[in-house]
């Protein structure tokens, strides 16, 4: 049975195969692409800073940061101030946070018998949008990160403003998502304790328990994250065993005949990326506890994404405190990018997981550009024998509505997947 899945930043077709009233295989097909990689070919390196945010309307900023870092890695010893690094990290955090709010209130809640909560989605995301705009000029689609730093110069007044957006967003979390002060929640080590709180997140988790869905949506229990910064660690986690020595060399992209989305694997195996993967690699106590109790399930996946909002808000406050305003925002590279013949790559943690960009430059002109997006990892279309991460998570379910919930719990983004 084929179902068109909508409102995933585009559409996908899921072809459900049943055996004994249970799903035993799901074919995932994405029907269109926009060929961003071709659009970039033969353009000037800097033009990628403007084109690439347009890969995606909801995580375009991650594409900007991945672009600028890929271009910077083409240089041998490019200097970047700590201030510029911190500012970039902040705007990326804010984008992750706005995505998670939208996913939770617009996509997830309706599956649990609630009406879609547009205002609860837009209020905090607008605050985060303001925080990005204060630094980057606008959101979405700024290109404020350039090779050598960021274009903005911030003053103490901007910092005060951004801090108040963060405080206001934290207050929203405490008043709505989990009704407890954020310090208590951040210190919480027991996933089951969440079920005793009130708020929109506990309500959903309780619903999952009530509906006997605690074991739903398990996949390979293999996680990976390549993006590193002052908060995220790089590494993989196999059934909670974490190793930090992984290499991009082992990442492989391959075409799928029936779909515009390419598959991505690490050492020929499919891995889950995203907030749950990051929390496993980072050993976030609360999420690791959920995983210990309920595995790589719907419960852990939802908890991890929402909890990341709080962690990133908290970490952003600390990042701001460390900014030294006397440092430069931008350090001019020693030579112009138009003279550069080189290649480079980057990996950043975008809202939905690891995003990889690779670029080849010939005298500053883009000769090749490759993008591997987070959703490609999670939505790889495997075979019956070797299904992709989301495919495996849907196997064994008995109805399509639940399968759609499981599919969307990976925060599917069609435009990114196909780019």
């Amino acid at each position: 049975m084929i179902k068109l899945i909508e409102k995933i930043e585009g559409e996908a077709k899921l072809n459900f195969n049943f055996k004994d009233d249970k799903i035993d295989f799901v074919d995932v097909e994405f029907m269109s692409t926009r060929n961003i990689e071709n659009i970039l070919r033969d353009k000037r390196a800097f033009d990628a800073l403007v084109i690439n945010p347009r890969v995606c309307g909801i995580c375009g900023h991650a594409h900007l940061i991945a672009t600028v870092e890929a271009l910077e890695s083409c240089y041998n010893n490019l200097q970047l101030s700590n201030k510029a690094k911190a500012i970039r990290e902040l705007t990326l955090n804010f984008e992750l946070i706005q995505n998670h709010f939208k996913w939770f209130y617009l996509t997830m809640l309706p599956f649990f018998g609630h009406k879609q909560q547009i205002l609860k989605a837009t209020y905090p995301t607008q605050l985060m949008g303001k925080a990005i705009a204060a630094l980057g000029g606008q959101y979405p689609h700024t290109s404020y990160a350039v090779v050598g730093g960021v274009v903005c110069e911030i003053t103490q007044m901007d910092i005060i403003k951004i801090e108040s957006y963060i405080t206001q967003t934290l207050k929203f979390v405490e008043d709505n998502l989990v009704k407890v002060d954020s310090k208590t929640l951040l210190a919480c080590k027991d996933a089951d304790a969440l079920l005793d709180f009130s708020g929109d997140l506990p309500e959903i988790l309780i619903e999952i328990k009530k509906r006997d869905m605690l074991n739903h949506a398990k996949s390979y229990d293999r996680f990976i994250a390549f993006g590193e910064n002052s908060f995220f660690k790089k590494g993989k986690s196999l059934k909670a065993r974490v190793s930090h020595s992984i290499s991009l060399k082992d990442v492989k992209e391959s075409e799928v005949p029936s779909s515009f989305a390419k598959n991505v694997s690490y050492k020929d195996k499919y891995y889950e990326v995203g907030p749950l993967a990051r929390a496993m690699v980072n050993k976030t106590t609360l999420v690791v506890d959920a995983h210990k109790k309920y595995g790589d399930s719907l419960f852990s996946r939802i908890l991890a994404r929402v909890f990341e909002i709080l962690e990133l808000l908290n970490h952003s406050k600390k990042l701001i405190d460390k900014i030294d305003l006397d440092e430069p925002s931008y350090i001019e590279p020693e030579f112009d990018i138009s003279k550069l013949t080189s290649s480079g790559y980057s990996a950043v943690e975008a809202a939905r997981g690891t995003l990889i960009h690779k670029v080849e430059l010939e005298e500053g002109i883009i000769k090749n550009y490759e993008i591997i997006t987070p959703t490609q990892w999670n939505l790889s279309g495997g075979t019956r024998e070797k299904p992709g991460v989301s495919q495996k998570a849907m196997v064994g379910l008995s109805d399509i509505k639940t399968a759609e919930l499981v599919f969307k719990s990976f925060d599917v983004c069609s435009v990114c997947t196909t780019h």
Partner: protein, 293 residues
Amino acid sequence: MKKKMRILWLSAISCNGNTHSFLNYPYMETFLDDFEFIYHPVIDSKYLLQDIVSKLISCDILLIEGAISREFKRADVSIVDIIEKYSKIVQKIVTVGTCATFGGIFRESGYKNTSGLHFDQEKQIENFKYLLDKTISISGCPIHPEVLVNTLYAIKKSTTLRLDGFLRPKAFYAYTVHNGCTRNEYFEYKVDNHKFGELEGCMYYEHGCQAPFTHGSCNKILWNEVNSKTRAGLPCMGCTEPSFPRQNLFSTKKNMSIPENLPVGVSKRAYLTLAGITKAFKIDRLEKKLFDD
């Protein structure tokens, strides 16, 4: 209950940036009291995409986001067919964003004959000509949420909008993005000492700022209510214009040291004369850092 205006939001070849920019509209609650979506790419709606393409659901306004090519389909139906079907029953069509208006970035995405609804960059196309009277263009990559929403209210109130040659409401597009930039003094006196990461200096002379010849309200109606690209220190990329995206952004194309694109309404001769005069000024305040004592 007051009657809500019914909107169909249709995405063609796009990045969904307009969809998400729209979600930044600050008075969403009021908006949703006055309008409802029969379909929207993110917001829940009464109908599924399959209903939209297989039936004809009544609606008042058709919003199109993304570049258009007959080859591109939604729910297995060509976007062109969907537009043709709904264009007959709606009062107004609004092209949302530069792709839907002029082709934009995704004009290059490889589908056959990709363009905006009425324009292939500057060129008016034959297709859909019969809809010219119904269409309003909101260009921008992405659109500014206030520009879109206020245009929708104008339609609701049957306000007569004055449009420019590209069907854009003059109320928003008669301005240039240059208007309202905090760096204007530097432009006026040709102080070009802009460096990335600084509050000072104009980006028109070296860094490719297109604001003086780009129509839009980006510096008048600030983004996310707080800022603009040029205020932050990023050159305007001209994203509201048919030429978007030009090539070699971030640098100013010049002929014999005169910028190739002059501010709207300024002739080369006038520019040279002005430049000659302003060179005579040496304004200390503008040569120094803003926060120097």
